[in-house]
């Protein structure tokens, strides 16, 4: 199980970073989503991998799941979900406004207007 989870995190992170480097809004947003999935699983494993272990103290049980990472993951999921929604909206606005979905500054070739801004 360790190998499966670790390689899943690694592959998702690698894919996320590859997409981030594409420098266009859509792949970059997908890349960030992949990265947040990877980090959510990573946070989850911070409490060690256990199966069918209770998170709350009971009599007669000595293997517990750590409840703290689960709470952290919930927070992280909510935040990353909200942030992704925000960046999709802003990115869409920027694309519709300028008809260009590059996330880096594009050279304009017009010296009187450096960086193409007003």
């Amino acid at each position: 199980m360790e190998l499966l989870v670790a390689s899943a995190i690694g592959i998702m992170t690698a894919g996320g970073i590859y997409l981030l480097l594409r420098l266009r809004t859509f792949p970059v947003i997908l890349g960030i989503s992949l990265l947040t999935y990877a980090v959510n699983v990573f946070l989850f494993t911070a409490g060690r991998l256990t199966t069918s272990a209770p998170p709350i103290l009971r009599d007669g049980i000595d293997v517990y799941a750590d409840p703290l990472p689960q709470a952290l993951v919930l927070t992280a999921i909510v935040i990353s979900f909200g942030m992704t929604a925000v960046v999709v909206m802003i990115g869409l606005g920027a694309f519709l406004g300028s008809d260009d979905d590059h996330v880096n500054d594009q050279p304009t070739g017009d010296d009187t207007e450096p960086e193409g801004r007003s």
Binding site: V39, F42, L43, T75, I79, I90, G93
Partner: protein, 513 residues
């Protein structure tokens, strides 16, 4: 347990939704509420700073749960000073936003402003790393809204860059937190400080990775080279009052580095030694050099100010990276100066934009309100470039003095002094093009006269300049205070004891277990 420590977080958190729900369509009521909220915040934070001035560490346990089970807010000298600085800056920035009419060029400026304050206050006060992440997100999501306030294509594009960069930063932060949690089992800073020292010298790989990841996250916030790329376009494109408020956001990164790396990973900890003198100090020196070179190279005034912010963050980080009590004391003095000077310059560049129409550094007819704007630019540029008599000069002297014992002392002195010269040239060039050469350019006959900035806008910029002068006049007292503060940071036992030993729920097991 007093509840006052929570008030700087709760107050804006209540004012903001109230503004959205009750005063949505009336900018007048919004302004009154927002200003009243910020004035109350100044009073509250001044009270907290006064309370902590004698070294008292105040603690607030959320829901009365004892640390490390519950989330704690901690007010010591450092955090209350930063909180006070934030609220004072916010007051003048808000006055400017009202005076210049920026708050009326889009919706919900005041609500977002209050949420932003809530996030910054929380980040300064919290004693828990995960809670720090949450407050970072609160301040970031409000800043996304503020950054694209009033819209426009260029601003939206810069906004996309800013949001994406910060999302990547947040993901890194989560990776760092996951590694720390896996290695130590806690995220409370005081608890971490005790547990990190217990880690076996053979098994420090995980915690070292976590320490470096965390440093990278804070360096992104502090715009340290090579992680500074988000700053120039977003600060230049953001509405001026927002950019001025953002001057405190880079300091949140600097604050987090000081807080975490004096307490959790102190310089004498074997596992993380070398992090500062090998990595952070050279990066800070390069930041200073690149920032001040950018000042000379910029073609527009807003970019120039953004690069000067990077340069002054480089100066702050040089002083922090020395990691001696004198270095931290100098850094804290310079943080206050750099926040005020950066915010003033952003506001002045907006005064120029109002009276001139654009910010290109090319010869154009004079700015309306030329004399007063020019005088203010002159004073603020002197402060930022670090010329006598203002506080930038004193701060720079303190940093140079603190770097005597560093192995990189020659580099620090050479870069600090030569970058000062370059930034003086940059500011002098910008000032002479904007205000002096403009007199030799004839205004076109049919050109419409541009509006003068309002009196309130000048009052708020003047207020910030007055604070800079006060920071210079009372430099002795302020530096003495930051010196005691730095000494306290390097002896964090009272902080740790207050957090860990204050009883609350769960600190003594109930009978039935």
């Amino acid at each position: 347990m007093t509840h006052w420590l929570l008030a700087p977080v709760i107050l804006p958190a209540l004012v903001a939704p109230f503004i959205v729900l009750a005063a949505r369509y009336n900018i007048g009521i919004q302004r009154v509420l927002s200003l009243a909220g910020v004035v109350a915040l100044v009073v509250l934070t001044a009270g907290l700073a006064w309370q902590s001035a004698d070294g008292t560490v105040t603690l607030y346990q959320m829901g009365d749960w004892a640390a490390p089970f519950g989330i704690v807010l901690v007010g010591d000298r450092l955090s209350t000073m930063m909180v006070l600085l934030t609220s004072v800056l916010a007051l003048f920035v808000l006055l400017y936003a009202v005076g210049s009419g920026w708050d009326n060029r889009g919706r919900h400026f005041h609500a977002l402003f209050q949420f932003q304050l809530m996030g910054i206050m929380g980040a300064f006060l919290t004693g828990d790393l995960f809670n720090l992440f949450v407050f970072f997100e609160v301040l970031l999501i409000a800043s996304y809204g503020l950054m694209i306030h009033a819209g426009g294509n260029a601003r939206l594009k810069a906004g996309v860059q800013y949001v994406l960069f910060n999302l990547i930063g947040s993901t890194l932060f989560l990776f760092a937190l996951g590694s720390i949690l896996a290695e130590t089992g806690t995220l409370n800073m005081a608890d971490l400080a005790q547990r990190v020292t217990l880690i076996d010298a053979e098994a420090t790989v995980g915690i070292r990775v976590a320490a470096v990841l965390l440093l990278m996250v804070f360096a992104i916030k502090a715009a340290l080279v090579p992680l500074h790329f988000w700053l120039p376009s977003s600060y230049a494109e953001a509405p001026a009052p927002v950019a001025a408020l953002f001057a405190i956001m880079t300091k949140v990164g600097a604050y987090a580095i000081i807080r975490v790396y004096t307490m959790v990973f102190p310089p004498d900890l074997a596992a993380t030694s070398g992090l500062f003198d090998v990595w952070l100090l050279p990066a800070a020196i390069v930041s200073l050099a690149i920032g001040m070179t950018g000042v000379l190279a910029a073609k527009k005034l807003d970019r120039l100010v953004a690069f000067s912010v990077i340069g002054s963050m480089g100066m702050v980080m040089i002083s922090i990276a020395l990691f001696t009590p004198t270095g931290i004391a100098a850094a804290l003095y310079y943080i206050v100066h750099s926040t005020l000077a950066g915010a003033t310059l952003f506001l002045i560049s907006d005064l120029v934009r109002t009276g001139r129409g654009n910010l290109d550094l090319t010869a154009q007819p004079t700015v309306s309100g030329n004399a007063l704007t020019a005088a203010m630019f002159f004073a603020a540029a002197i402060a930022m470039a670090g010329l006598p008599p203002l506080s930038g000069f004193l701060g720079k002297l303190l940093v140079l003095d603190a770097s005597y014992d560093s192995p990189l002392m020659v580099w620090i002195w050479v870069v600090v002094l030569s970058s000062s010269l370059i930034s003086i040239l940059g500011f002098a060039r910008a000032g002479s093009i904007l205000f002096w050469k403009a007199h030799s350019v004839k205004r076109a006959e049919d050109a419409k006269p541009l509006p003068q900035p309002t009196a309130l806008a000048y009052v708020s910029v003047g207020g910030l300049l007055t604070l800079l002068v006060a920071h210079t006049v009372f430099a002795g007292q302020v530096h003495a205070y930051t010196t005691t503060m730095a000494a306290g940071l390097f002896a964090p036992e009272p902080y740790i004891e207050t957090v860990m030993d204050t009883p609350g729920k769960l600190s003594t097991p109930a009978e039935e277990y």
